[in-house]
């Protein structure tokens, strides 16, 4: 069982790097959707014996539906609506963002060992993959031009936090994961509306237009 | 007895001042090879002016008429404080030399205002110069007086100029000498004598004190000239008493000796006026600042 979970963690981190590298928006959205789906399997894999299976199943299913289907669908709809161009040029260029991502992942993996975890970590790879996913999300937000890409970055950050939340899922009841899902749903929903308005107002989703507010 | 001597000294001060001017003019005449006016000429001038009629400019107000009156009253009141020839003053008290200086300031203030009242640019020029040089002379005067206070240990003029001054010369000689020289320069500046101002010049542009009193006539002019002579006598008393310290037991003898000293002071004044030329106007502040520096140097010497 530990082998499978280890494989899932590595896949999650791999997908992070893919998102960083993807130049087309549509491809990036599909990658993130796939990552969400994969992660939703984790609660099942990590479920230890004394856990109520009903709660874990509900959590996994909820994560799959929200992360895998609802949000990517909405973003693709927003892209069609806005009929925006495909390619996705980051401010600092692809290679530097890739390098930043890699450095983040490396740091996460080396130092997560030294963090004094008060409880037995469900899986050695859990903490580093969570931290690296959060770091990738932040890079996406900070470097991508398109508003939709920034929402994507935010989505990746939420995924990282979801993974970290699993660490506490055994003694912290349902509230933690529900919190993450609620936050995810609400944030993406509102941003969807805003993207729609931005497009109507600026006829483009390029954040370069959004810099008139300045001192 | 002490009050009698003081009263006699004060009367001598009131009566003999014009004579001082006569002696100075006579010395200048002798230097110039002339026989010069008689010694009592100033008294005749005063009597002549008191009898004459006064002509007042239409632009002047009561300030112009009050100028000479206040000037004379201030100098007479200052006389009450000064000790002549070692005899105590009529109203001595600690800190009286401050009142003495400010009374002279009061006289100068009203004379300058009277000058401005006439509205002529020449009188304005005189007033401006008078107040400017006075504000340079005041610190020098006070520095010398502080040196005297420190040397004699007393804060009143009578105490400063009392009989034991000669003994103090032995201990504080150099400081007192510097103070005396500085005082002489201040006296020359205050009384508009040659190096600073020429009393009998006729070119208004060069005058300082004379041009302020240009428009006065009749009794006013008499009061001003009498006041000027009194002021010269006061400064003379200060310088003479400080410079010529002669130990005489009885007060009467020292009073006579003091009057002799005053005559000598008049002669010295005449020689200075005849031998030196007038300074350019911008040099006068430098002279007065030099006097203040001398006074400061004397203060440092004495405080060491």
């Amino acid at each position: 069982m530990a082998l499978w979970t280890g494989f899932v963690f590595v896949l999650v981190v791999g997908l992070d790097l893919v998102v960083l590298a993807s130049s087309r928006l549509r491809g990036a959205i599909r990658t993130v959707a796939f990552q969400g789906a994969v992660m939703s399997a984790l609660p099942l894999l990590l479920a230890s014996e004394h856990h109520q299976t009903v709660h874990v199943l509900a959590l996994a299913l909820g994560a799959l539906v929200v992360k895998g289907v609802v949000i990517p669908g909405m973003m693709l709809w927003a892209m069609r609506e806005a009929a925006i161009r495909r390619e996705l040029e980051p401010i600092v260029g692809f290679v530097p963002s890739m390098v930043l991502g890699a450095v983040g992942v490396a740091l996460a993996f080396t130092y997560s060992g030294s963090l004094p975890l008060p409880i037995h970590a469900r899986h050695t790879l859990l903490v580093p993959s969570a931290l690296s996913t959060v770091w990738t999300g932040l890079i996406l937000v900070m470097t991508r031009r398109k508003a939709v890409a920034q929402v994507l970055g935010f989505l990746v950050v939420e995924n990282g936090i979801f993974v970290f939340g699993l660490l506490l899922s055994d003694f912290m009841p349902f509230m933690v994961e529900a919190g993450v899902l609620l936050d995810l749903l609400a944030a993406i929903f509102v941003m969807g509306i805003v993207i729609f308005h931005i497009n109507r107002e600026f006829a483009s989703l390029d954040t370069r237009r959004l810099t008139s507010l300045r001192d | 007895m002490r009050h009698l001597v003081a009263l006699v000294a004060f009367l001598a001060f009131l009566l003999l001042s014009p004579l001082l001017l006569g002696v100075v003019n006579r010395v200048k005449a002798v230097f110039a090879g002339r026989t010069g006016a008689p010694l009592l000429q100033p008294y005749r001038d005063l009597r002549r002016l008191l009898g004459k009629q006064a002509v007042y400019s239409r632009t002047t107000t009561w300030v112009f008429r009050a100028g000479p009156v206040v000037g004379l009253a201030a100098v007479v009141a200052a006389g009450l404080l000064m000790s002549f020839g070692g005899a105590p003053a009529l109203l001595p008290f600690p800190g009286d030399f401050i009142l003495f200086a400010y009374l002279l300031g009061l006289g100068r203030f009203f004379t300058a205002l009277a000058a401005l009242d006439t509205g002529s640019s020449f009188e304005g020029m005189g007033a401006a110069r008078e107040v400017t040089f006075a504000s340079f002379a005041e610190p020098a005067l006070f520095l010398c007086l502080v040196v005297l206070v420190r040397a004699t240990g007393s804060m009143s003029l009578s105490g400063m100029l009392r009989a034991e001054l000669p003994e103090i010369w032995h201990t504080q000689g150099p400081a007192l000498l510097l103070a005396a020289v500085a005082l002489l320069v201040v006296a020359l500046a205050e009384n508009a004598r040659i190096p600073v101002d020429d009393p009998n010049t006729h070119l208004e542009l060069t005058m300082i004190h004379e041009v302020m009193v240009l428009d006065h006539s009749g009794p006013d002019l008499a009061f001003i000239q009498y006041g000027a002579s009194l002021k010269l006598f006061l400064f003379g008393a200060l310088v003479v008493r400080l410079a010529l310290g002669f130990p005489f037991s009885s007060t009467w003898w020292s009073l006579l000796a003091f009057l002799g000293g005053m005559a000598l002071f008049a002669v010295v004044l005449g020689t200075i006026e005849s031998t030196t030329a007038r300074l350019r106007l911008i040099r006068v502040p430098q002279l007065l600042v030099a006097a203040s520096i001398m006074g400061a140097f004397a203060l440092v010497l004495i405080l060491r």
């Binding site: 900070m142 | 203030f109 304005g124 504000s135 610190p139 420190r150």
Partner: protein, 667 residues
Amino acid sequence: MIATLVVVAILVTGASGLMAVAFHRRPALGQALACAAMCLGALAGVVAAVAALLAPAAPELALPWSAPGGAFALRVDGLAAFFLFPVLIVPALGSLYGVGYFPQARLGAKAIRLQLFFGLITGSMALVVVAANAILFLAAWEVMALAGFFLVLTEHQERDAQRAAFVYLAAAHAGNLALFAMFALLGRMAGSYDFSAMAGLAAAGGAATAVVALALCGFGMKAGILPLHFWLPGAHSSAPSHVSALMSGVMLKIGVYGLLRVAGFFRAPPAAWGTAMLVLGGVSAVLGVAFALAQHDVKRLLAYHSVENIGIIAMGMGLALLGRARGDAALVFLGFAAAVLHTVNHATFKSLLFLGAGAVIHATGTRDLDHLGGLSRAMPRTAALFLVGAAAICGLPPLNGFASEWLVYLASLRTVFDVGAAPHPHIAAVAAPVLALVGGLAAACFVKVFGTIFLGHPRSHHAQHAHEASASMLAPMLVLAVVCAAIGLFPAALLPALARAAAGWSGLPLEGLGRSAAEAGNSAWRVSAVAAALIVVGLAVALLRRRLLRRPQPGAETWGCGFARPTARMQYTGSSVAGMLVGSFRWAFFPHTKVVAPHGVFPHRSMYSTYVPDTALERGIVPALSWLAQLAARARSRFLGAVQFQALLLVSGLVALLLWLAFGGVQ
């Protein structure tokens, strides 16, 4: 009982402005009632002050007040009583003056607002002087500052009034912040915010010097000691005259009161404080009068003279502190008496001069000296009263200016003798010649002011049709002049009361101070005797002159040394009288001179004008603030608007926190 009377006085004067608001439909009645209320409150306050002076123990009063650490505690000791006199009398006379100068009937809302804040500032100043708790002191202090701001803003439509009001408010607030820090430190040293707990603090240690430095900044800013005086000329010249009389005559003294009160807290202040105060006072006095000489605007000139007189008061305070450092009771008494007496004197003659200047401005409509001239014929009574004020401020003998400057001289000369503890600051004796220089310059300045305004020919149409001030304006000026003469002729009367106040302030035994007060007293009687002699001789000479000139004397044109047609413009103007002196002080202020030189055989219009800005403001404060503004502008980089940068800022903040966490190693 006395303290409650003081509270009544504070409330009545504070609320006197409401009368004008209540009766705004009948302005004349409203203004009269407001003025009556102010005078009534002032009277009550003065009676209370006199009673407090005579009372054996200083009356106290405490009311419950819930501000954190604060308490509504009042204490009217000798020092406070002496300051109550100017704080209450000058505003009462000012509001009487305002009836004629700033009539509510003609000026409506502006006059109502002025009276409202006029009353408020008087009440708050009185409260500051009697406050015995730091929080109450600070609260009343800032209410005074704010009321002053709104008073300076009376002519709010003028650009320079707005600028002056803002500079004043910024300076006042900066000063208050220094006071916040000072009282916080004092509160920490004394354990509580009550002044009674703060008495007798140890003067050693860094905290005490920090307190004094902050006090110098805070109170020095309000008092107008030289480097911190930059707000003063603008504020006093753009406020109406009776307001500038109040601000210059009284509000600056509250700064002096603060300095005295804080200096009184410490047991044996080191000699360094006294010397610092002396040096600051000397510099303020000399440069203050030098700046005054160079001014053209009569109210700016009088404002700079306030800086000079505050300098003299600071010299008195410095000498008193030196006395306490050496334990020489006579020096303490002379210095303290000089400072407090000069405060009261300055309040009287400065207000007299400002009211006089107000009358002149009211009559001619201009403040520029070079447009006036020959007004004493049109306004004889104002001219006479202004002359009394001018003579008093120059310290000329028969008037009160001389009495207090004389005490400063005595105190300075006292340091020449080796009395009291070891370190003899002989150098303090230099104060006497410095004060003499200031006296000479002040005389030069007021010859210029009185000469250019009241004497000679009228220089412009403004001066031609001037009219005499109304009775309600002249009455307060007359009262002030009489007070000046009274204190000048009988200075000895105030010395015993000053001795008691000095004992209260310095903590030294009363008999030591009483003895030196007695010595100073009988020489003060001699001063009065000489003054009497001066007046008698003057009258005698005047009578002699009248007898000699019985017949009417002929009039003629002034002798212009033969010049055919002298015009009014050829008279000596303000800048020409002070030209040489301004030249010699060129290193202190940088005059802007505009010269249109005459050229050609028949030169047409040529012009020469000088303007001396306030050096501290123009060379010190303004460049510093503009440099800061450029710095800030550079800090706001242009790409701050982008969302990505804002996200980067957020993440970098977090990373910085984590780094500090890891390496900061908080123990």
